[in-house]
Protein backbone atom coordinates (compact mmCIF):
# COMPACT_ATOMS: atom_id res chain seq x y z
CA UNK A 1 0.00 0.00 0.00
CA UNK A 2 1.37 3.39 -0.94
CA UNK A 3 1.51 5.59 2.07
CA UNK A 4 3.24 8.94 2.04
CA UNK A 5 4.25 10.26 5.45
CA UNK A 6 1.61 8.16 7.18
CA UNK A 7 -1.17 9.31 4.82
CA UNK A 8 -2.74 7.64 1.85
CA UNK A 9 -2.09 9.06 -1.59
CA UNK A 10 -4.83 9.28 -4.21
CA UNK A 11 -3.76 6.08 -5.92
CA UNK A 12 -3.91 4.02 -2.74
CA UNK A 13 -7.16 5.63 -1.68
CA UNK A 14 -8.76 4.87 -5.04
CA UNK A 15 -7.55 1.28 -4.80
CA UNK A 16 -9.18 0.87 -1.38
CA UNK A 17 -12.41 2.42 -2.57
CA UNK A 18 -12.53 0.14 -5.61
CA UNK A 19 -11.74 -3.00 -3.66
CA UNK A 20 -14.23 -2.26 -0.87
CA UNK A 21 -17.20 -4.60 -1.01
CA UNK A 22 -19.29 -1.97 0.72
CA UNK A 23 -18.36 1.67 0.26
CA UNK A 24 -19.49 2.44 3.79
CA UNK A 25 -16.78 0.04 4.97
CA UNK A 26 -14.18 1.91 2.95
CA UNK A 27 -14.93 5.02 4.96
CA UNK A 28 -14.63 3.11 8.21
CA UNK A 29 -10.93 2.99 7.47
CA UNK A 30 -9.67 6.20 9.10
CA UNK A 31 -6.85 6.72 6.60
CA UNK A 32 -9.36 6.64 3.70
CA UNK A 33 -11.74 8.94 5.57
CA UNK A 34 -8.91 11.39 6.28
CA UNK A 35 -7.85 11.42 2.66
CA UNK A 36 -11.43 11.82 1.39
CA UNK A 37 -11.95 14.76 3.74
CA UNK A 38 -8.97 16.55 2.21
CA UNK A 39 -9.06 15.45 -1.45
CA UNK A 40 -11.94 16.79 -3.53
CA UNK A 41 -11.13 14.55 -6.49
CA UNK A 42 -11.24 11.34 -4.46
CA UNK A 43 -14.32 12.56 -2.63
CA UNK A 44 -16.11 13.15 -5.95
CA UNK A 45 -14.99 9.74 -7.21
CA UNK A 46 -16.31 8.03 -4.08
CA UNK A 47 -19.61 9.86 -4.40
CA UNK A 48 -20.02 8.87 -8.05
CA UNK A 49 -19.03 5.27 -7.41
CA UNK A 50 -21.36 5.06 -4.44
CA UNK A 51 -24.26 5.85 -6.79
CA UNK A 52 -23.37 3.41 -9.55
CA UNK A 53 -21.90 0.56 -7.52
CA UNK A 54 -25.20 -1.25 -6.82
CA UNK A 55 -25.98 -1.15 -10.54
CA UNK A 56 -22.47 -2.25 -11.56
CA UNK A 57 -22.63 -5.17 -9.16
CA UNK A 58 -25.71 -6.46 -10.96
CA UNK A 59 -23.70 -7.01 -14.13
CA UNK A 60 -22.97 -10.66 -13.59
CA UNK A 61 -21.32 -12.98 -16.06
CA UNK A 62 -21.38 -16.70 -16.64
CA UNK A 63 -18.64 -19.05 -15.61
CA UNK A 64 -17.07 -20.89 -18.55
CA UNK A 65 -18.68 -24.29 -19.03
CA UNK A 66 -16.69 -27.46 -18.43
CA UNK A 67 -16.90 -28.21 -22.16
CA UNK A 68 -15.44 -24.83 -23.00
CA UNK A 69 -12.60 -25.25 -20.53
CA UNK A 70 -11.87 -28.70 -21.95
CA UNK A 71 -11.87 -27.35 -25.50
CA UNK A 72 -9.58 -24.49 -24.51
CA UNK A 73 -7.30 -26.89 -22.68
CA UNK A 74 -7.17 -29.27 -25.61
CA UNK A 75 -6.25 -26.50 -28.06
CA UNK A 76 -3.76 -24.92 -25.67
CA UNK A 77 -2.01 -28.25 -25.09
CA UNK A 78 -1.94 -28.88 -28.82
CA UNK A 79 -0.35 -25.48 -29.32
CA UNK A 80 2.08 -26.23 -26.49
CA UNK A 81 3.25 -29.43 -28.14
CA UNK A 82 3.66 -27.61 -31.46
CA UNK A 83 5.93 -25.10 -29.73
CA UNK A 84 8.38 -27.77 -28.71
CA UNK A 85 11.48 -27.93 -30.85
CA UNK A 86 13.06 -31.39 -30.86
CA UNK A 87 16.10 -31.39 -28.66
CA UNK A 88 19.51 -32.13 -30.15
CA UNK A 89 20.43 -35.70 -29.45
CA UNK A 90 23.54 -36.12 -27.32
CA UNK A 91 26.58 -37.59 -29.08
CA UNK A 92 26.44 -41.34 -29.05
CA UNK A 93 29.50 -42.79 -27.22
CA UNK A 94 29.85 -45.49 -29.90
CA UNK A 95 29.92 -42.92 -32.66
CA UNK A 96 32.37 -40.84 -30.66
CA UNK A 97 34.75 -43.83 -30.42
CA UNK A 98 34.49 -44.50 -34.15
CA UNK A 99 35.21 -40.85 -34.96
CA UNK A 100 38.16 -40.79 -32.58
CA UNK A 101 39.64 -43.99 -34.03
CA UNK A 102 39.25 -42.75 -37.59
CA UNK A 103 40.83 -39.38 -36.75
CA UNK A 104 43.77 -41.09 -35.02
CA UNK A 105 44.29 -43.29 -38.07
CA UNK A 106 43.99 -40.36 -40.49
CA UNK A 107 47.80 -39.69 -40.68
CA UNK A 108 48.34 -43.35 -41.49
CA UNK A 109 45.67 -43.23 -44.22
CA UNK A 110 47.32 -40.14 -45.69
CA UNK A 111 50.76 -41.76 -45.52
CA UNK A 112 49.55 -44.92 -47.27
CA UNK A 113 47.87 -42.85 -49.99
CA UNK A 114 51.03 -40.77 -50.45
CA UNK A 115 53.15 -43.92 -50.78
CA UNK A 116 50.68 -45.36 -53.26
CA UNK A 117 50.80 -42.11 -55.24
CA UNK A 118 54.60 -42.17 -55.27
CA UNK A 119 54.66 -45.84 -56.35
CA UNK A 120 52.07 -45.10 -59.05
CA UNK A 121 54.20 -42.22 -60.32
CA UNK A 122 57.33 -44.38 -60.47
CA UNK A 123 55.47 -47.05 -62.40
CA UNK A 124 53.85 -44.68 -64.92
CA UNK A 125 57.13 -42.76 -65.35
CA UNK A 126 58.74 -45.99 -66.59
CA UNK A 127 56.05 -46.52 -69.21
CA UNK A 128 54.86 -43.00 -70.16
CA UNK A 129 56.38 -39.56 -70.69
CA UNK A 130 57.01 -37.64 -67.43
CA UNK A 131 54.23 -35.05 -68.08
CA UNK A 132 51.61 -37.72 -68.64
CA UNK A 133 52.83 -39.59 -65.55
CA UNK A 134 52.43 -36.41 -63.46
CA UNK A 135 48.92 -35.93 -64.87
CA UNK A 136 47.97 -39.52 -63.92
CA UNK A 137 49.38 -39.10 -60.42
CA UNK A 138 47.50 -35.79 -60.06
CA UNK A 139 44.27 -37.55 -60.99
CA UNK A 140 45.05 -40.29 -58.50
CA UNK A 141 45.66 -37.75 -55.72
CA UNK A 142 42.38 -35.94 -56.47
CA UNK A 143 40.33 -39.14 -56.43
CA UNK A 144 42.08 -40.50 -53.34
CA UNK A 145 41.46 -37.21 -51.48
CA UNK A 146 37.79 -37.25 -52.46
CA UNK A 147 37.42 -40.87 -51.35
CA UNK A 148 39.01 -40.17 -47.96
CA UNK A 149 36.91 -37.00 -47.47
CA UNK A 150 33.64 -38.69 -48.34
CA UNK A 151 34.59 -41.69 -46.23
CA UNK A 152 35.10 -39.52 -43.17
CA UNK A 153 32.06 -37.36 -43.88
CA UNK A 154 29.84 -40.42 -44.03
CA UNK A 155 30.80 -41.55 -40.52
CA UNK A 156 28.15 -39.44 -38.68
CA UNK A 157 25.42 -40.62 -41.08
CA UNK A 158 26.46 -44.22 -40.61
CA UNK A 159 26.46 -43.60 -36.87
CA UNK A 160 22.92 -42.15 -37.05
CA UNK A 161 21.73 -45.14 -39.07
CA UNK A 162 23.16 -47.54 -36.53
CA UNK A 163 21.64 -45.56 -33.63
CA UNK A 164 18.15 -45.66 -35.15
CA UNK A 165 18.19 -49.40 -35.74
CA UNK A 166 19.70 -50.94 -32.61
CA UNK A 167 17.50 -54.05 -32.88
CA UNK A 168 18.76 -54.93 -36.33
CA UNK A 169 22.34 -54.45 -35.25
CA UNK A 170 21.88 -56.85 -32.32
CA UNK A 171 20.15 -59.38 -34.57
CA UNK A 172 23.05 -59.25 -37.03
CA UNK A 173 25.52 -59.90 -34.20
CA UNK A 174 23.66 -62.94 -32.86
Amino acid sequence: MNVQQGRLDCQACEQRILSARNLGCALLDSSVADHIAECRECSAFLESLREVKPALDQYRVLEPTTELIETVLCRALQQGSENLVPERAPIDPGLFRVLLASLVSLPLVILINALMGWAFYELTALLLPRTVALYCVGLFVVWASLAVSFGYASLPFLGALVRHSPGRLRAAKS
Binding site: K53, P54, R60, P64, L73, L77, G80
Partner: protein, 196 residues
Protein backbone atom coordinates in the same frame (compact mmCIF):
# COMPACT_ATOMS: atom_id res chain seq x y z
CA UNK B 1 9.82 -2.21 -10.75
CA UNK B 2 11.03 -3.04 -7.29
CA UNK B 3 7.49 -3.51 -5.97
CA UNK B 4 6.76 -5.84 -8.87
CA UNK B 5 9.84 -7.91 -8.14
CA UNK B 6 8.94 -7.90 -4.47
CA UNK B 7 5.40 -9.09 -5.07
CA UNK B 8 6.72 -11.78 -7.41
CA UNK B 9 9.08 -13.06 -4.74
CA UNK B 10 6.35 -13.11 -2.13
CA UNK B 11 4.05 -15.04 -4.43
CA UNK B 12 6.76 -17.51 -5.32
CA UNK B 13 7.84 -18.13 -1.73
CA UNK B 14 4.55 -17.54 0.04
CA UNK B 15 2.73 -19.99 2.27
CA UNK B 16 0.78 -21.43 -0.70
CA UNK B 17 2.11 -24.75 -1.83
CA UNK B 18 0.81 -24.13 -5.34
CA UNK B 19 3.42 -22.74 -7.72
CA UNK B 20 3.03 -19.13 -8.85
CA UNK B 21 1.70 -18.25 -12.28
CA UNK B 22 5.11 -17.08 -13.37
CA UNK B 23 6.78 -20.36 -12.34
CA UNK B 24 4.08 -22.29 -14.16
CA UNK B 25 4.52 -20.12 -17.26
CA UNK B 26 8.24 -20.88 -17.33
CA UNK B 27 7.52 -24.58 -16.94
CA UNK B 28 4.84 -24.41 -19.62
CA UNK B 29 7.30 -22.76 -21.99
CA UNK B 30 9.60 -25.73 -21.44
CA UNK B 31 6.81 -28.08 -22.51
CA UNK B 32 5.21 -28.98 -19.17
CA UNK B 33 1.61 -29.76 -20.14
CA UNK B 34 0.49 -29.95 -16.53
CA UNK B 35 1.61 -26.35 -16.05
CA UNK B 36 -0.46 -25.25 -19.06
CA UNK B 37 -3.43 -27.12 -17.67
CA UNK B 38 -3.15 -25.45 -14.25
CA UNK B 39 -2.81 -22.00 -15.82
CA UNK B 40 -5.84 -22.52 -18.05
CA UNK B 41 -8.01 -23.74 -15.19
CA UNK B 42 -6.80 -21.01 -12.85
CA UNK B 43 -7.28 -18.03 -15.15
CA UNK B 44 -10.11 -18.98 -17.50
CA UNK B 45 -13.01 -17.92 -15.22
CA UNK B 46 -11.65 -14.40 -14.66
CA UNK B 47 -10.57 -14.05 -18.26
CA UNK B 48 -13.94 -15.24 -19.52
CA UNK B 49 -15.71 -12.74 -17.29
CA UNK B 50 -13.64 -9.90 -18.71
CA UNK B 51 -14.21 -11.05 -22.30
CA UNK B 52 -17.96 -11.44 -21.75
CA UNK B 53 -18.24 -7.92 -20.41
CA UNK B 54 -16.19 -6.60 -23.30
CA UNK B 55 -17.95 -8.72 -25.91
CA UNK B 56 -21.38 -9.77 -24.61
CA UNK B 57 -22.01 -12.20 -27.46
CA UNK B 58 -21.55 -15.67 -26.01
CA UNK B 59 -20.11 -17.29 -29.15
CA UNK B 60 -17.65 -14.44 -29.61
CA UNK B 61 -16.62 -14.73 -25.97
CA UNK B 62 -16.02 -18.48 -26.35
CA UNK B 63 -13.91 -17.88 -29.47
CA UNK B 64 -11.95 -15.09 -27.84
CA UNK B 65 -11.19 -17.18 -24.77
CA UNK B 66 -9.77 -19.92 -26.98
CA UNK B 67 -7.84 -17.49 -29.16
CA UNK B 68 -6.37 -15.81 -26.10
CA UNK B 69 -5.03 -19.06 -24.71
CA UNK B 70 -3.71 -20.27 -28.04
CA UNK B 71 -1.89 -16.99 -28.59
CA UNK B 72 -0.60 -16.99 -25.02
CA UNK B 73 0.76 -20.54 -25.24
CA UNK B 74 2.25 -19.87 -28.68
CA UNK B 75 4.09 -16.83 -27.32
CA UNK B 76 5.18 -18.17 -23.94
CA UNK B 77 8.81 -17.76 -24.99
CA UNK B 78 8.22 -14.00 -25.06
CA UNK B 79 6.81 -13.88 -21.53
CA UNK B 80 9.11 -12.19 -19.03
CA UNK B 81 8.78 -14.01 -15.66
CA UNK B 82 9.53 -10.73 -13.88
CA UNK B 83 6.13 -9.50 -15.04
CA UNK B 84 2.83 -10.74 -13.69
CA UNK B 85 1.42 -13.52 -15.86
CA UNK B 86 -2.17 -12.31 -15.44
CA UNK B 87 -1.22 -8.84 -16.70
CA UNK B 88 0.42 -10.33 -19.76
CA UNK B 89 -2.55 -12.66 -20.37
CA UNK B 90 -5.11 -9.87 -20.10
CA UNK B 91 -3.00 -7.75 -22.44
CA UNK B 92 -3.35 -10.47 -25.07
CA UNK B 93 -7.08 -10.79 -24.38
CA UNK B 94 -7.60 -7.03 -24.60
CA UNK B 95 -5.78 -6.82 -27.94
CA UNK B 96 -7.93 -9.62 -29.33
CA UNK B 97 -11.10 -7.99 -27.98
CA UNK B 98 -10.11 -4.68 -29.59
CA UNK B 99 -9.45 -6.40 -32.93
CA UNK B 100 -12.77 -8.20 -32.75
CA UNK B 101 -14.64 -5.04 -31.81
CA UNK B 102 -13.06 -3.23 -34.77
CA UNK B 103 -14.18 -6.02 -37.08
CA UNK B 104 -17.66 -6.07 -35.60
CA UNK B 105 -18.28 -2.35 -35.90
CA UNK B 106 -20.66 -2.94 -38.76
CA UNK B 107 -22.61 -5.50 -36.78
CA UNK B 108 -25.20 -4.54 -34.26
CA UNK B 109 -23.69 -3.41 -30.99
CA UNK B 110 -26.75 -4.30 -28.97
CA UNK B 111 -26.82 -8.03 -28.62
CA UNK B 112 -28.68 -8.62 -25.43
CA UNK B 113 -30.10 -12.11 -25.78
CA UNK B 114 -27.05 -13.52 -24.12
CA UNK B 115 -27.43 -11.16 -21.23
CA UNK B 116 -31.04 -12.23 -20.79
CA UNK B 117 -29.93 -15.85 -20.69
CA UNK B 118 -27.32 -14.96 -18.13
CA UNK B 119 -29.83 -13.27 -15.89
CA UNK B 120 -32.18 -16.22 -16.17
CA UNK B 121 -29.42 -18.61 -15.22
CA UNK B 122 -28.45 -16.56 -12.20
CA UNK B 123 -32.15 -16.41 -11.19
CA UNK B 124 -32.41 -12.73 -10.53
CA UNK B 125 -35.68 -10.87 -10.10
CA UNK B 126 -37.44 -9.10 -12.97
CA UNK B 127 -36.44 -5.75 -11.53
CA UNK B 128 -32.80 -6.79 -11.36
CA UNK B 129 -33.02 -8.09 -14.93
CA UNK B 130 -34.14 -4.71 -16.18
CA UNK B 131 -31.43 -2.98 -14.17
CA UNK B 132 -28.76 -5.35 -15.44
CA UNK B 133 -29.77 -4.67 -19.01
CA UNK B 134 -29.56 -0.96 -18.35
CA UNK B 135 -26.08 -1.41 -16.94
CA UNK B 136 -24.99 -3.48 -19.93
CA UNK B 137 -26.28 -0.80 -22.30
CA UNK B 138 -24.64 1.95 -20.31
CA UNK B 139 -21.27 0.16 -20.25
CA UNK B 140 -21.55 -0.72 -23.94
CA UNK B 141 -22.20 2.92 -24.75
CA UNK B 142 -19.02 4.08 -23.02
CA UNK B 143 -16.04 5.02 -25.21
CA UNK B 144 -13.87 1.88 -25.57
CA UNK B 145 -10.97 3.19 -23.50
CA UNK B 146 -13.22 4.19 -20.61
CA UNK B 147 -14.92 0.81 -20.79
CA UNK B 148 -11.54 -0.96 -20.69
CA UNK B 149 -10.42 1.02 -17.66
CA UNK B 150 -13.66 0.24 -15.85
CA UNK B 151 -13.61 -3.47 -16.65
CA UNK B 152 -9.99 -3.91 -15.66
CA UNK B 153 -10.02 -1.74 -12.56
CA UNK B 154 -13.48 -2.38 -11.16
CA UNK B 155 -14.44 -5.87 -12.29
CA UNK B 156 -11.02 -7.53 -12.60
CA UNK B 157 -9.41 -5.74 -9.66
CA UNK B 158 -6.16 -4.82 -11.42
CA UNK B 159 -4.13 -2.03 -9.86
CA UNK B 160 -3.61 1.27 -11.65
CA UNK B 161 -0.09 0.23 -12.66
CA UNK B 162 -1.21 -3.14 -13.99
CA UNK B 163 -4.10 -1.58 -15.88
CA UNK B 164 -1.79 0.97 -17.46
CA UNK B 165 0.48 -1.89 -18.54
CA UNK B 166 -2.40 -3.86 -20.02
CA UNK B 167 -3.93 -0.88 -21.79
CA UNK B 168 -0.58 0.54 -22.85
CA UNK B 169 -1.12 4.03 -21.46
CA UNK B 170 0.17 6.08 -18.49
CA UNK B 171 -1.24 5.57 -15.00
CA UNK B 172 -2.72 9.07 -14.95
CA UNK B 173 -4.65 8.30 -18.13
CA UNK B 174 -6.08 5.14 -16.56
CA UNK B 175 -7.23 7.15 -13.59
CA UNK B 176 -8.89 9.87 -15.64
CA UNK B 177 -10.58 7.30 -17.91
CA UNK B 178 -11.93 5.41 -14.92
CA UNK B 179 -13.24 8.60 -13.34
CA UNK B 180 -14.84 9.64 -16.64
CA UNK B 181 -16.44 6.21 -16.98
CA UNK B 182 -17.90 6.30 -13.48
CA UNK B 183 -19.11 9.84 -14.04
CA UNK B 184 -20.73 8.87 -17.36
CA UNK B 185 -22.41 5.86 -15.78
CA UNK B 186 -23.64 8.01 -12.93
CA UNK B 187 -25.32 10.38 -15.34
CA UNK B 188 -26.82 7.50 -17.35
CA UNK B 189 -27.93 5.24 -14.55
CA UNK B 190 -28.98 8.06 -12.25
CA UNK B 191 -29.06 8.05 -8.48
CA UNK B 192 -31.32 5.00 -8.38
CA UNK B 193 -28.62 2.71 -7.09
CA UNK B 194 -27.68 4.78 -4.05
CA UNK B 195 -26.57 2.62 -1.19
CA UNK B 196 -28.47 3.04 1.99
Amino acid sequence: MSSRQCSFTIRAMGPHTEPSDETLAVRAEQGDQEAISVLVRRHSPGLYGFIQRYQPDRDDADDLLQETWIRAVANLDRFDPKRRFSTWLFQIALNLCRDRARRDQVRSRFRRDVQEMQQEKTRVTVEEKVDARKVVRAIEALPPQQKEALLLRYYQGFSEGETSEIMGCPKGTVKSRLHQAVQALRSKLGPRGVEH
